[in-house]
Symmetry: C2
Subunit: 468 residues, 2 copies
């Protein structure tokens, strides 16, 4: 037994030590670079929060907000692009009166009969509201409500009622910034907030408190400040006719109860309702709303730039951005998604056109009955049918999306519009018959915008347009 | 230094060895039991294939097939349950004529005006086809086509044409087995197969080969052998009017081209079309078909018993089995699913009823025009409108599902039905006016089944029903 029994140490080759050292060093360098990259991306994502400059309470200038939020601002600025056509290709906004002269006659007696172009992006709101023929010297300040980030400040300064009753033209110098950040965001926290009182009041009228809305609901409700049906109470106060509900029948009951009409039809003398753009109400009846998809999810989808995820503020038709909107949930090809949407819209458009044909004929038939000397009292029933039928049609027609937001609901409403307009025509035919007129009234040629406008002008001037 | 330096061996307690042995044995036993269970379940799943008894080529008796496939047979046998009501609660099949006397008048001159009950399950097909008043001594053998597993054999024996032209009553003794296995399955392979020639011919007429259908497509196509629109070519040959397409306009164009009508309306003398039950055509226009969901996926969902997965052959409304059908894809509560389906159906039902009201009135208005002495030639136009309008309505109304299978398409079709019926009424009102009748025709009371039937009887007897 001796210590020599310990076996000799097995020595490694001399090059092993340096190689392990270098390998370890290399791995450390790579990991460090990765860590730096991660930190950079985090920093990039957090930079705005770190570099925030305070924004004044009523700051109307989107560019000032844009210093803190350049991506949101730059994408918002893209709303100046006017490529809003989808199915019908690119080009300038559509002129609905050129495309579809029926609408010239349907709105006879209302400014929409003279100027009805496809809406452009939010960027153009000041230019468009000051350029439209639908605004006149008699228009109230209310018409500014949805058009500018200057409005919350003016409402705070003047009070809502005073703001609304001030003539439109008098406010022109103080309203200069288009729709933007201030309309939907709290400048201190960037939380979404409701800046227009009509929506809050409409919620209150339904016994609901809008302050309890979730963030996801707010991603639709900020849009619902403006993309809704409304009327001017006492000729100025912006009011949503929601007290009985948001369906088309609810609104008709509301308007009938207060005996409201927007205009008297120049041809048929019917007390008409002009639907505005009940996008939010129609959307509420559809499957996307049912599944909790907000307006913003489709019209302002998320994007990433580098390490930053942000909301694309280029509000537009999802059909112009299918990959980032529809296709996030619907994993089909873009062409298939487009085809699917357009097949729904094509069906709505066909029923809508049938409603228009029936309504145009009903207005002209009513005018013929007046020429035939039918008593006014006998025309009340048919006129009420036309009033309801046209509001139903307009509830669908005036909206964006050609019924896509609630296909069955919109088709159902248009079916009722057709039914009402045809019932009015039948009643008028019998009234005409009682006056000895069995032949169909002679409808003048209103097949172009110019011809339709000329006929309306003759009616308004009290000239004889022989319909019998 | 001595050998005592070796440390004493550390001995384990004596009980350790037996415990390890027992634990190991226990684990082996448990694993063996698990293996046996797995083997049993596999065997259970494969047993049918192992124990198959040959089934004769034309075997009509479902019970014989059931010896090989007891689960499928037993679930099929549940189709004898008549709880087919959904929205309206349980109970016997609905009698549509009692519930909705408008249909008595709409089908005046057709057997559906006298006997129109809700369909019962496949188990009852022989009892129901021999019990209905819609089958008469003049009915051809064709009326057996969709009712029995004896039919494939008879068609093979007699030839399709001879089978179809043989009077219904003459075949009664040879057709005794209700709809079942033979109708959809190859007895040798159990593969799905098409046994009725009309569907194959309809595919061929569209330039398609049904033998190229996938298994998933076959899970709808076996249903499409019968749940379709059809007519009797040369008064006996079952034919689908699909040559121009499966849409309602395609079928109208087809029927107009061959100048076909099912019956002449007893009140309005309109050459009418009776839609059968174009369930497959309507389904083809809906979202479920678009996403590749077959009839069987919802109406015959998969089930498991022990280790065996099988198709539930209790064909029924998914609303009676929401958890296994709808809820497999739509992960909502059953009450919510039901509410969602019924809200769609309620909207369709409302538009459908408006179409019925317009159509009933149109038939009576046409009868009034005849009484007023309006020339037959002048009635051709209004009658064509009514013919088309009522087929549109019936295309939706005659189907199962109250439009649920394609909500927008059905609502669109009903809108067109309303439009056509009202246009007919307007034209007739002017014809009546030209004969000096300006007041609305006096429509008799047809508000109950009995009252409607009495009026029709008077018309058929040539009695004077004063409408002017």
């Amino acid at each position: 037994m001796n210590t020599n029994e310990t076996p000799p140490a097995r020595t490694l080759p001399k090059w092993v030590g340096p190689v392990i050292f270098l390998l370890t060093a290399g791995i450390i360098v790579v990991l460090a670079l990765l860590a730096v990259s991660i930190m950079e991306r985090r920093w990039e994502a957090q930079r705005p929060a770190l570099a925030l400059k305070p924004i004044a309470q009523w700051e109307p200038d989107n560019a000032v907000w844009g210093q803190n939020y350049p991506r949101e601002f730059e994408s918002y600025r893209n709303t100046r692009e006017t490529g809003t056509r989808t199915k019908f290709g690119g080009g300038p906004p559509r002129d609905y009166l050129d495309e579809n002269p029926r609408q010239v006659l349907l709105f006879a007696g209302n400014p929409f009969s003279k100027d009805y172009k496809q809406a452009r992006g939010h960027f153009h709101s000041i230019a468009d509201v000051t350029g439209t023929k639908r605004i006149s010297e008699k228009s109230p300040g209310t018409c500014w409500t949805c058009k500018s980030t200057d409005v919350p400040r003016l409402m705070a300064d003047m009070g809502v009622e005073q703001f609304s009753k001030t003539p439109f033209a008098q406010l022109k110098d103080r309203v200069t910034h288009s729709i933007g950040c201030q309309d939907c965001h709290d400048p201190a926290t960037m939380n979404l907030r409701i800046t227009r009182p009509a929506l809050k009041e409409a919620f209150a009228a339904q016994g609901r408190n809008i302050n309890e809305a979730t963030h996801q609901e707010m991603r639709s409700l900020v849009c619902a400040q403006c993309h809704v049906e409304y009327y001017f109470k006492d000729k100025a106060l912006l009011t949503f006719p929601w007290a009985k509900g948001r369906g088309v029948e609810d609104m008709l009951a509301y308007y009938d109860e207060i005996n409201f009409s927007d205009y008297t039809h120049a041809v048929s003398k019917t007390p008409m309702l002009k639907a505005q753009h009940p996008d939010f109400e129609v959307y509420s009846h559809g499957i996307h709303a049912y599944r909790g998809v907000s307006c913003s999810d489709c019209h302002m989808p998320y994007r990433t730039e580098g390490g930053v995820k942000f909301t694309d503020h280029h509000v537009q038709s999802p059909l112009l951005n299918i990959a980032n909107s529809c296709a996030v949930c619907h994993r089909w090809g873009e062409a298939e998604i487009r085809q699917r949407v357009e097949s729904i819209q094509t069906k709505v458009a066909a029923v809508k056109q049938n409603a228009e044909d029936a309504l145009v004929a009903a207005h002209l038939d009513l005018a013929a009955a007046m020429q035939a000397g039918v008593a006014e009292a006998d025309l009340t029933g048919p006129r009420q049918l036309v009033r309801h039928a046209q509001f139903r049609w307009d509830y669908v027609s005036a909206c964006n999306g050609m019924g896509f937001h609630a296909p069955q609901e919109c088709t159902r409403i248009l079916a009722d519009a057709i039914n009402g307009a045809q019932q009015a025509r039948l009643a008028v035919a019998r009234l005409l018959a009682a006056k000895g007129h069995s032949a169909p009234p002679k409808h003048p040629d209103t097949s172009t915008r110019e011809k339709a406008a000329a006929i309306i002008k003759a009616f308004e001037a009290g000239e004889k347009v022989n319909l019998l």
